[in-house]
Symmetry: none
Subunit: 203 residues, 4 copies
DNA sequence: CTATAATCGAGACGGTACGTCATGTCTTACT
DNA sequence: AGTAAGACATGACGTACCGTCTCGATTATAG
């Protein structure tokens, strides 16, 4: 057989880390999370399903919440809301992405994870910096484009509006399970378009 | 008139459960919950502090989540929003009660509790019927009084408005920690007063 | 005038104890003992099977070992070895009664009960006074009749012989389960008849 | 010659059990057993004293009786009765070792242990195979040496004699507490030496 | 005929041990 | 060096039995 590997310079010693492990652990954790819920995810079970030892899991993450946190970080695709020139359409897109994220996507675990991590500021901070903040920036951009186009008042309290939207969706998922009808979503977008939303205080 | 008196109630036998124990357990659990958080509440510790055996705890509740559930049920005082004739003031009162409930009150444990109960539909149902629903009814009344007075449009989608408000507060507490400034609250009340909120679809 | 009934014996007031309870409890305990063994006998279960409350059980006996003790006491029929004039036949009868008692009768629990009661001198004493001692007296009589008839040496160490016999049977039941063949029993009786057994030391 | 070497033994993986733990647990259990008796031995306490977690205890043994069983197995030193050429002296030594074993040694727990294991045939079998049987073999050898030397009849029913001896001692310890005087022991040895003991049936 | 007093069945109670399980760390042997 | 297997300390879980203690019903004597 032909000796492949053309003398890779600066040979590292020892067995190289398995690049697949990390993602296999994340996949296993995700499956379990969906099936059993956060509190029933077991590191033992994750390791078994990933065909990996617990040691390896703990090499990548210091503890369970950190693992779940990363799971959410990596699975939280950035909000794809292209600049189409149509402010109303962009807001509608944004809203439906929020719904999808919090309903079926990784965001549905967020609330719970945050609750379970309430005594672990580090993981909590990471979650906010790497998941919440980037998404919020994108969402904010959508509003700012609308303001720039003159479609939205300049003093719209963007964060308040986004928190209202996120909050509504999240609450209908966990707190008081109920559907979110199409027309309610459209009304909320219309209210934003017409400026009937919280405004920033005059500086 | 037919006296709809219920059946003779099938005489119970044996020593009745000590209602004293029950409330002492709940009190101990509440203290622990406030001090250490849901995940650190221990049945052993609750029993010890209540001066009660573990067996007695498990006689009243089948497992930890059920205990905490009852704790929240009993401690979730009904929303006291008296009919003052002033719709705007009543809405403001309602909003601040929501804030208080979700920030410092029993509502702050709800998320984790709901998660821990995910495989116990009974407890979950109880939580919703005895805590969420009654509070929602009271809140709805405040809006209906406003409608009756002509201060609010008849087709306000009350549940949507309340979910928006609850959601915003909950999200600012857990998901994206941020203060909820006074003026934002007032703007939200004003928007409701002016009817710039979701409406029910025409039937 | 009728003399007011000489000494009405201080008539007790209140509901009289149910005379059946005691024996029904003993019967239930006996059944359970046979089925599940001493360590698996539960007062709860005994009470349930006897159709009686635990309170009633504890009215008759202070604790579990005492109940089992009484069970053995009452079920240990006195050794019926009639004086037939035939010493050898009487010894054989005695031996087979010992075998029956320790193998299938109440005696089979004795060893265990004694072990379990090792820290309860009171119950232990009762057991010895009311069960072991009376049986021993009868057994001793059989030997003394043999001595009186001149069939046995006067200095036979009766207690040693009886302890040898009891010990052998008990050991074959619990310590080293094995059958006790007929011919072994006969040999032991023969050895006693021929005086080849421990003797009392010369006083 | 065929090398009867066993299979390559299917290489075990993972961290091997710490043999240190095992013996420390046994030591702790032994201390507790001596101090408090079988029924008062607590796995929690054993684990604490051994500086070991309960889990570790349950890794080695499935339940308490199994632990105590192993304790007795390991602490039951084989009967040291050297071949001195003097049959009578050897029998006396054997008898006194039996007394010591059943009086102060591990044998005194046997009864309760056997009872506690009544629904676990495996543990029971182990107890008999590894404790009772080896001791019996040694004891039997002493008699067989005596037979070979011509000091004892060839058809002595060794097991019967040994069961008589064990039974007597055990009975005087538990069933009918009484001293076992020196002269009684000597008489029993003499009876064996003179062949006045049960014999095997002619085959 | 009512008051008093005891027993009864049912079962809650404090205590204590049980045996199981999850977390996060550490060890061994293999690659 | 990195890994899979898996033992380890810690500590909560929920269950079982013991012996005690109510509760309301029942059943007798006493007045």
């Amino acid at each position: 057989m032909i000796p492949t590997s053309a003398a890779p310079a600066a040979r590292r010693r020892g067995r190289p880390p398995d690049p697949h492990s990390r993602s296999r652990i994340l996949t296993a954790a995700e499956t379990l999370l969906d099936q059993a819920g956060y509190l029933n995810v077991t590191i033992d079970e994750v390791a078994t399903r990933a065909g990996v030892s617990k040691k390896t899991v703990y090499r990548f993450w210091p503890h369970k919440p950190a693992l779940i946190c990363d799971l959410i970080v990596e699975r939280s695709a950035v909000l794809p809301v292209p600049d189409t020139g149509d402010t109303r359409a962009e807001l509608a897109t944004l809203f439906s992405l929020i719904v999808e994220y919090l309903t079926a996507g990784p965001g549905s675990t967020m609330t719970l994870l945050v609750a379970a991590t309430s005594d672990d500021p580090g993981t909590l901070a990471k979650l906010r910096e790497q998941v919440v903040a980037p998404r919020r920036d994108i969402a904010r951009n959508v509003f700012q484009r609308g303001i720039a186009r003159g479609d939205l008042p300049a003093d719209v309290d963007i964060d308040a509006v986004l928190d209202l939207w996120h909050g509504l969706v999240a609450y209908r998922v966990t707190g008081r399970p109920a559907a979110l009808p199409r027309h309610t979503v459209e009304q909320l977008v219309d209210l934003a378009m017409s400026g009937h939303v919280p405004r920033l205080p005059p500086t």
